[in-house]
């Protein structure tokens, strides 16, 4: 007796019933023909699609010793707490430019596992800022001269470093297109495929900004930090610099690291670049496992500038020298450039067309 099975049509999702003794089957709704084996494999692959699961382990860290040289500063206006060397004599908050007061209390400050010491000096930071402002056509002139460049500060920014192993499992619908023609017609053949891609990839030391006072996007822009230069934390490193205390917990930072891991894992196994004409993701599941978390301080030079009632923050990676910071646009300059360029290009286009016509 023959088996009667029901399968889902990959083209129109209608139900295809068939006799298991036949080799090829046709969908009664959309008339597409299929190979029996192809339908079977598709069906199995559909059953295999998995769901996400994420697990993290947060290591317990020690607290800093009650070191006499360390003081905690509290900012008057933004309430930020900064850790610094007593001898730094910091008087202004690096985030909001207001004066800070020293407090006596010093306890419960988490001891960092790692620190990347400053590699670049304040002068290097000032030079980098000058370079950053150069060659920006639409920058207001006043911005360059009204800058208080000297107040650039070296800060250790707190980061949560996440390590992870990601297990990615994805399915796609893809097509390969080929064409040919004879004297009467052009033909286009589309082959439809169902693709499965799965694999594992490991990550380490993904940094997520642990300070709410420092813009996360700003910190991501100066990445990457090279972990090879890292050292075990010693309070001596803080000398001459300020360190921000973390106020965003590791738990709260996990989701950011998650997102990045998932995206990297998906792209690592993606069939893009394999010659398919179209690739449409169907299901994607990324299991993230064995996460370890460390607390580290990374070096950043920061400068805040207020211009026309707006705050502009610049940051430079204190290890690699990468400099970022959004700049304001001078509207008048924009329209002036737009107008004059339009006139020049129009004249140029007309001239070239005329010349070509005359000499061809």
């Amino acid at each position: 007796m023959a088996d009667v099975m029901e399968y889902k049509c990959p083209n129109c999702a209608g139900a295809i019933k068939f006799d298991s003794e036949k080799q090829k089957m046709k969908c009664p709704y959309c008339d597409t023909e299929f190979d029996v084996e192809a339908l079977k494999s598709y069906d199995e692959a559909l059953k295999d699609e998995k769901e996400d699961s994420i697990k993290w382990e947060i290591n317990k860290s020690e607290t800093l010793d009650d070191d006499e040289n360390i003081a905690v500063y509290v900012c008057n206006s933004c309430g930020g707490e900064i850790v610094g060397d007593k001898n730094t004599g910091a008087t202004h908050c690096p985030f909001c430019d207001n004066p800070v007061i020293m407090t006596e209390n010093f306890s419960g400050v988490l001891k960092p596992d790692y620190v990347i010491p400053f590699k670049l000096s304040k002068n290097a930071a000032k030079e980098a800022l000058q370079k950053h402002l150069k060659g920006k056509w639409l920058l207001p002139k006043l911005f360059k001269s009204e800058n208080h460049i000297d107040e650039i500060k070296g800060i250790y920014v707190p980061f949560w470093l996440f390590g992870a192993e990601a297990d990615a499992d994805m399915t796609y619908r893809a097509t390969r297109v080929s064409g040919w023609s004879d004297s009467n017609y052009t033909y286009t053949k589309t082959d439809h495929y169902f693709l499965t891609r799965a694999g594992s990839v490991a990550f380490e030391h993904i940094p997520v900004d642990g300070s709410s006072k420092i813009d996360d996007d700003l910190m991501e822009s100066i990445e990457p930090f090279d972990f090879d230069d890292v050292a075990d934390f010693q309070t001596a490193y803080l000398s001459g610099y300020l360190a921000d205390k973390y106020d965003v917990s590791a738990k709260e930072s996990i989701s950011r690291a998650n997102k990045r891991v998932k995206k990297s894992a998906e792209d690592a196994f993606s069939p893009r670049g394999e010659g398919y004409a179209t690739v449409i993701p169907q299901k994607s599941s990324v299991k993230i496992d064995n996460g370890s978390v460390n607390y580290a301080l990374y070096p950043v030079w920061i400068l805040n500038t207020t211009w026309k009632d707006k705050k502009y923050t610049f940051a430079m990676n204190g290890q690699t020298g990468k400099f970022v910071g959004n700049l304001p646009m001078d509207r008048k300059k924009y329209f002036a450039w737009f107008g004059s360029l339009a006139a020049v290009f129009s004249a140029l286009t007309y001239g070239i067309a005329w010349l070509i016509d005359h000499f061809m």
Binding site: L138, E165, Y185, Y187, H192, P224, R260, N326, M329
Partner: protein
């Protein structure tokens, strides 16, 4: 007996003279026949000598015929017949082209014979007709005919280089200011917009990082599954547009000779 030979002599003499007249037919016959009276005297004179000059030089009869009415006949037949039965055409193949303007139906038709069939392809006839159409519509018949004569001259010269104007090979278009001025303005605006967009982008350097590729552990990438399942195939076909091959279409006129040509309304 004497009267008979006298008569036959006079008869043959008349015949000889008549024949000699027909030998001069193409030189003696007017090339501009304005039965619809669309031109004034001086225009007529100038145009007529122009047509004669071109025809002699190019060794092809360029004729223009205007009629108030052609009695309901088709413009194609009338033009062809007029050319044939009035013995137009230079050389063995009787090469020439005749432009007929019929005021009653507002028809225009260009009929070609001999070498003119090759020199004036369907595409070429179309081109010339389109060029003189605005002037015909406006009633500037002198302008249209002058233009027509010049174009014929140009076309015949071009045909003699063995490459007559055809579908892919038409006279160079004029530099149209009415197109280029707005086009240049648009191009200028687009170029300027793109440049200032780049200048604006320069100002923004703070961008979040969507991936964590910098933190992938070396050699940690392992592929566990890599399956490509072929599902089905579909084929679509499109009919290819037949490109116009060019050339000249011909027909046989009532006198039995082969004519090319084309026409329409104005």
């Amino acid at each position: 007996m004497k009267i008979k030979s006298c008569l036959s002599f006079i008869f043959s003499a008349i015949l000889v003279v008549a024949l000699s007249f027909s030998a001069f037919a193409s030189e003696g016959k007017p090339r501009l026949i304005d039965n619809a009276q669309l031109l004034d005297a001086s225009e007529f004179k100038n145009l007529s000598s122009k047509l004669d000059e071109i025809s002699e030089r190019q060794q092809m009869d360029i004729v223009i015929l205007t009629e108030k009415s052609i009695g309901g006949k088709s413009a194609r037949d009338y033009a062809g017949d007029y050319f044939d039965y009035n013995n137009y055409g230079i050389g063995e193949d009787k090469s020439g082209v005749l432009l007929l303007i019929n005021m009653e139906e507002r028809d225009r038709y260009m009929s070609t014979k001999g070498y003119a069939v090759k020199a004036f392809t369907d595409a070429g006839i179309n081109y010339i007709s389109e060029k003189i159409l605005p002037e015909l519509k406006d009633g500037d018949y002198n302008g249209a005919f002058e233009n027509y004569a010049d174009l014929c001259d140009e076309f015949i010269t071009k045909a003699k280089t063995d490459k007559p104007y055809d579908t892919r090979n038409l006279p160079k278009k004029e530099f149209d200011i009415r197109f280029w001025i707005p086009a240049a303005i648009v191009a200028g605006l687009v170029a300027s917009w793109l440049t200032t967009l780049y200048m604006k982008k320069q100002l923004k350097t703070v961008l979040s990082k969507p991936k964590a590729d910098d933190y992938i552990q070396k050699d940690s990438l392992k592929i566990k599954n890599h399956r490509d399942i072929f599902l089905y195939s579909s084929i679509v076909r499109h009919a290819r547009p037949k490109s116009r091959s060019g050339g000249s279409s011909t027909h046989r006129s009532s006198s039995g000779s082969i004519h090319g040509g084309g026409g329409g309304k104005f």
